[in-house]
Symmetry: C2
Subunit: 413 residues, 2 copies
């Protein structure tokens, strides 16, 4: 099938799945988890094929050792993947929720009801567990998806989606074509142009991928390219808190997008603080060229600032709007920081590493967004929904209200 037809089929499927009930979706998800568990040897076999090809690419330097590791599906990752699907079953259905019920007038009632977005385009790199996770999130939120995985994991992705779709074929009443997969670069190019059928693009991968996608489509993109997170140590900071939080934010998992990249230190601490961080194995660099740079390792940019205002200005200039923290004992400064720093997460005396859908209690994470519209910060299932207005009356006409024969009373129920 060419891309246009795949996209058309996805659109049709999205209209079908919009109207199925929670029980049917949950049954489908449980069956998927069971089927993947039952067929896991087949998945491991496919993964071995991918790994064998990937080994050659590691040798020639075409892919890094860390990409190779992400590609590898072991028993632990398989267990987490299955648990992830079963956890999604337990979550509340994000669609068909009444967000507002308002009587506009006698017998004329407005309902604002959550509903799926439609068709999602998912572009992800070599992490084959993503395909099961994102398919499950799509089913739970009644969206259709077109998936494009990394070419390094093609056998694993094909096998997993095959098992999922064969399972869905056996679930009575579940629509066809909800989950489709494409494989070529040309498919990606067409996906990014296909605003007629695709409503939201979600890239799951490194900065380069996300930047490329954001620059090459007019379809809304949910995600973040950079995670330039800051910690500002204010004049009244508790030294032990500062030390503990910075070390956690930089060293607990340095390659995460919510790890701290730049430390802004009030002059008062410029002598003491760097010392303890160096002792903790952190490499400090003081170079304006790295102020908008994501190190991804234990390197931390730092800068001495005179006051809170300079810190806020620095963050709003060089930050990526992801997550930024102030360490202070001064409530007024903390509040000013949290109101004026224009980021998805603004933290007070807490490690930036908490910026995560599971830690926020969303039960599932679609991604972390630095957008200023739709969804911002860690995004749960709700981010895959929008709403529609249902208006139910008994032959009500606008003329009566324009002529003053009737009046709105707007009573929330």
């Amino acid at each position: 099938m060419d891309f246009e037809n795949i996209a058309k089929a996805a659109k049709a499927a999205s209209l079908e799945i919009a109207d199925i009930n929670s029980d049917l979706k949950n049954r489908a998800l449980s069956d998927i988890a069971d089927a993947l568990e039952k067929e896991k040897e087949q998945i491991f076999e496919a993964n071995k094929k991918d790994l064998k090809e990937a080994e050659k690419l590691v040798e020639t330097g075409e892919i890094s050792k860390s990409v190779f590791n992400r590609l590898k599906l072991d028993n632990n990752k398989m267990r987490d993947m299955l648990q992830g699907i079963r956890d999604i079953v337990k979550l509340e259905d994000p669609v068909n929720k009444k967000l507002l019920v308002r009587q506009l007038d006698e017998g004329l009632t407005l309902y604002k009801v959550s509903c799926p977005i439609g068709v999602l385009g998912i572009i992800f790199e070599a992490r084959p567990d993503v395909i099961a996770q994102i398919s499950s999130l799509a089913i739970k939120s009644s969206n259709a998806v077109i998936l494009k995985g990394g070419k390094e994991s093609i056998n694993t992705n094909k096998t997993i989606l095959d098992i999922i779709n064969k399972t869905l074929d056996k679930v009575a009443g579940f629509p066809k074509n909800v989950l489709q997969q494409v494989f070529s670069r040309d498919d990606v190019a067409q996906m990014l142009k296909c605003d007629k059928y695709i409503n939201l693009v979600i890239p799951r991968g490194g900065n380069k991928l996300v930047k490329f996608i954001k620059e090459n489509t007019k379809i809304p993109v949910l995600g973040h390219a950079d995670g330039i997170c800051h910690i500002f140590v204010d004049e009244t900071a508790d030294f032990e808190t500062a030390k503990k939080v910075i070390i956690d934010a930089k060293t607990q998992y340095p390659s995460a997008c919510n790890a701290v990249e730049t430390l802004l230190i009030h002059e008062k601490f410029k002598a003491d603080l760097p010392q303890v961080l160096l002792s903790a194995g952190i490499t400090l660099v003081n170079n304006p060229e790295t102020w908008a740079f994501e190190h991804g390792d234990t390197t931390l940019a730092y800068k001495t600032v005179k006051n809170l205002d300079e810190a806020i200005e620095h963050i709003n200039t060089y930050g990526s709007g992801h997550t930024d923290c102030i360490i202070t004992q001064n409530r007024e400064n903390a509040e000013k920081f949290m109101n004026k720093v224009d980021s998805a997460g603004v933290y007070w005396n807490v490690s930036t590493r908490f910026a995560d859908g599971f830690r926020y209690g969303f039960g599932a994470e679609v991604g972390i967004s630095t957008n200023k519209t739709h969804a911002r910060g860690p995004v749960g299932l709700e981010g895959l929904t929008i709403y529609k207005y249902k208006l139910i009356g008994a032959g009500h006409i606008v003329k009566d209200y324009v002529d003053g024969v009737k009046n709105f009373h707007h009573k929330d129920l």
Copy 2:
């Protein structure tokens, strides 16, 4: 000032206005209404200048008589404009609302707080009352704006924004550069490219303008290009209800975007219904070439359909996702229609003309959106906001939770 600097100034202003309180914003709005009222003769004078120029353009056929009429600011429009600003004062402040308060663990609390989007780019055609309305909405929602009006109303727009900005200069504590205006075509081109500083573009004008903007920017656009609204008269429809609703939806204000454009009639009514509509002065056309066409007058496309499924399919194929209605006495069919039709408004036995922020009780309308993300349908002040997450703790670190020393308890407060 060149556009880059205007946009930079707007960004800086947006960070300032994000943190001012409701009282200050409301005082500014009241002062604006008073000042515009006091200086209204000056505004009428400027408007006369524009009208004099516009008259020549009407003569040469460069602008239509209806554009000329929209351009004209009379006492009624002035009164409505002032009332509009004073109504916005009375609305609840849409920012700083706590959307979620969740204790993640002892002493670690997450707040999801509504906040402004940032910088809005507003492009509007020759309706000089828009500039006061949109400026007031921006102030109330703590956003900065860059305004670009139609060249036909340049004197009126300049005079109005001048009075507004002179008033704001006298409001102690109100930031500079919240409201700026640009004038050239080149400014529009630059605005559409300026995704570094502008977070949302709102076009206020005809289809052509909206389509042009949607096709020429990667910045999110709030609006709708087309309003191809449908009414489907189902087999069990009450004939009188059908007649009344269709006549209202087509004739009460035919040029509105929520007026009906296509009528889908169940075979049962194909003989009777057209007759009564013709008698009501509606012109009926049965031509597939007009299935996706917005007439904007009392012309109504119509088509006979066999059943509900054919109607749903037609609407999802040719509609614009604006507002669509079913006339039926059959609850099951009504529910199927409302769930399966993929539009911002899905109505049952009600005129499509109700799709409007004021009629929905939003108090103000930013526009009507057919987007599938962020805001859909009639958009009130809420559509000019997003949210940020504030996380407040006492030196909490992620390592404790990863190591199992502490556990999240996720308790909503």
